[in-house]
Symmetry: C2
Subunit: 247 residues, 2 copies
């Protein structure tokens, strides 16, 4: 493909990768250099992970648009208050972005990992595209950053790989883990005890690798069996490498 | 993370992404600029996809090491001749790489997509590491390149995503497709007819997106239901986007 220009009046969903700023793509770096507005999600009063990742790549004096999440982190995602406040937040964020795009601005929205693999960017995208033009700049996913750092080749030959949210019930997790070659368990957080139970039940606890803050400062990687306690931060996941064809 | 130097006597597994050279990471670009030797897999007499992807990033006069696959593409992966010739090919390739590494060279091996997500690099890695130092530079996977180009957000909320090889029997494919939120079917090649049957059986044929040569020249993207015929090249896959929580 010939290099593409960065266009006005266009929404860019920019994957900023798993944490290490060297893991942005050349395309992402170019879009960030040329965008009129750099938008990102953050908690009120924080800079946000995606914005922090690109610190070394963005100069001073840029036009930035932080989008602060409403205070709903203590609420369950099915709680009507969570749904209402989050809905209104996305609507309001999109109204602002829509105005900039209609004014011909090039707007880059930062997305941790890849814009189309989990994350909040998709909630903006589905409101704004159409009518607006958009380019998705794929990013290195958190899981790929983690398996690279863990020295864990994930899939060989005809392996099946399953990406599972740790929010699943233990019995469902165990059944899926027993019936796949490779697996990635995302969104560990406070579910680590349940994940251990499921892996043990599936007979695979000894193959599991725990990765905390992969590619970021404060990175910790260890066999899950060696991890003390069931505390895990948001940026943690469990890898179960595949066992496919080796020659 | 602070920027890391590119080191001598070290093996770099460099993900070159799905095809578009702008989708290499900044880290991959730096490693390629500084490596003493750039090694890659190719068919005899061809330049190979991974080497072609980085054409615009690598200057003249570099020390290149093509590794030519034996002529086994017409044989099945379980054929003893395939296994023997492929085994000997990896052993011989690693003997050459080992010599360069022992001589203190910085060796970059190109890997299509991501080095630890399918592909041949892992067969080198498991022979060379240890004793040699290694850094895996993750790459944008083929599937991420494809879903970005297809405007297909893949996973929302607590979606489960399953990566399936098209080589599975139709009934097993259908069962997996019926029991996951999102799916990516890899290695389509001559299996497209069977993949259609499995998607139809799972009641999901109308959600499937066919992507051929995603992010490369000659890219074609369409609903699978609209694709005429069952011919598909090696670089094709089928996406089944998830249907998780939307707010």
């Amino acid at each position: 493909m010939t290099p593409r220009p960065v266009l006005k009046g266009t929404l860019y969903g920019v994957g900023v990768g798993p944490g290490d700023p060297e893991l942005l793509t050349l395309r992402a770096n170019k879009v960030l250099a040329e965008a009129d507005i750099i938008a990102y999600f953050a908690k009120e009063g924080r800079r946000g992970t995606s914005r922090t990742i690109v610190d070394s790549l963005i100069g001073e004096g840029r036009n930035e648009l932080p989008m602060y999440y409403p205070f709903t982190t203590e609420r369950h995602v099915t709680d009507p208050v969570y749904v209402k406040e989050t809905y209104e937040f996305y609507e309001a964020s999109c109204a602002t972005l829509d105005t900039h795009l209609r004014n011909g601005k090039c707007v880059a929205v930062l997305a941790e990992g890849d814009p189309f693999f989990f994350g909040s960017f998709m909630h903006l995208w589905r409101r704004l595209v159409p009518p607006h033009a958009c380019e998705i700049v794929p990013g290195i996913t958190g899981m790929a950053g983690c398996w690279s750092r863990a020295n864990a080749p994930m899939t060989f030959g005809d392996d099946i790989m399953t990406v599972l949210p740790a929010t699943l019930p233990a019995d469902k997790l165990a059944a899926r883990l027993a019936d796949t070659d490779a697996a990635v368990i995302m969104k560990i957080g406070r579910h680590l005890g349940k994940v251990r139970t499921a892996l043990t039940s599936a007979g695979r606890i000894d193959q599991a690798i725990y990765v905390e803050r992969g590619t970021m400062s404060g990175e910790h990687i260890m066999p899950l069996a060696d991890k003390a306690g069931d505390d895990a931060p948001y940026f943690s996941l469990v890898l179960l490498p595949g066992n496919g064809r080796r020659i």
